[in-house]
Symmetry: C2
Subunit: 225 residues, 2 copies
Amino acid sequence: MEKPLETLIVDSILDAIADQRLQAGTKLGEQALSDIFACNRVHVRRALSMLTAWQVVDHLPNRGAYVATPTPQDARDVFQARRAIETTICRNVVRLASAPDIAALHQHLALEDAARGQDNRPAKIRLSRGFHTLLARIGGNSVLARYLDELTMRSSLIIGLYATGPDTLCAEDEHARIVAAIEARDEARTLALLDEHLRHIEAGIRFDEKPPLLGTLFNVLGPAR
Amino acid sequence: MEKPLETLIVDSILDAIADQRLQAGTKLGEQALSDIFACNRVHVRRALSMLTAWQVVDHLPNRGAYVATPTPQDARDVFQARRAIETTICRNVVRLASAPDIAALHQHLALEDAARGQDNRPAKIRLSRGFHTLLARIGGNSVLARYLDELTMRSSLIIGLYATGPDTLCAEDEHARIVAAIEARDEARTLALLDEHLRHIEAGIRFDEKPPLLGTLFNVLGPAR
DNA sequence: TGATTATGGATTGTTAACAATCAGTGGTAA
DNA sequence: TTACCACTGATTGTTAACAATCCATAATCA
């Protein structure tokens, strides 16, 4: 066994941010987290500093840690970085996706379809993000995969802050079309569809303020995860 | 005043790694660092965890922290990520470099020229890296700039581990030619030169083992920085 | 002699108490 | 009423002592 203590805390908070159950600006008090995870305050501290390194938590000296609130400029930078990184990832995927990889992509598409039928917004958000991280894993570049993990996380915060319409998720069939292009080993088409897809997501956000509207920490992370 | 304590430690170690004064595999003992920086062990701990987040330090539970030793696969991934990220950075630079930015680039080229004359290897390494981080800053995308900081740092480790010839630094005039292309607002040529430049660096490394050959920590970081 | 196992010293990890800082509250004076 | 200031409670930051783990040396046994 390793030491899944701060890892558990980090992953729980990252999941909550990715699912948009934790909103930008929410205070992450040390005592509160210590109580929730039944652990020492020093573990919470370490977890928070890891999250700070991930750029999803802002640490104000003597004032505590808060879920980061990306600025409009941050949003632009994040999406431009995603285009740069996911382009290379998809080039790799087209080049070296194996048959099981393609099967995994189709399986993921099926899950997304199923979630679209139900009215399960957190699941939809998680699967939508999962598609991109799955591509990153198939691409095989661990550096790019790690960066994309971070960027999709920050994208969740950005979308939660600046999304316009009620449904700013990944569009209906765009993922499926990308998979089809990958399966056909058509690099140009894959990259074109990917770029269109990312710009489509980006187009769904508007850069005007929104109220924080935060829920309590305990409700999000507290009982039964 | 902020709290330049762990920041000082982190920056000192990062500088030492970037300059290749700290080699891969060197142990970073907590007590030793506490003595060197005359501070508490907990600050050293925080600094080391930040460096772990930067992927330039490996943390082995109950065994301490060591300067990371990138694998050949890591090396490939790092350089592919650099190509992806610096391509977008340079596109930005060509688009929005101001006159003072161009002047800063020329000034940097002058510094590199001067260092080439002398036999100051650490200065050459630092300036070579500085050229790329300067481009990143001019590019204006803070996300990509931060990633490139990390990647150039890891590149230093990789080059120190796997470099073949005695002079695997950035080639003579490649930086100058890139600046000329930027100044001409010639995006295609800039990107071509950049790609060639990065592949040239990458070509200078061979993926066979090298002896660690580490110097003591105190000699590198100890007296008078 | 060679391998295996105790043991000592050093290093890392954890805990709890203490100090410093900040936000919010209430009071006082203009 | 409003602005300013002191105070209190809570939260974060720091320190030092304690516990657990690991590496290396040395002793034991085949």
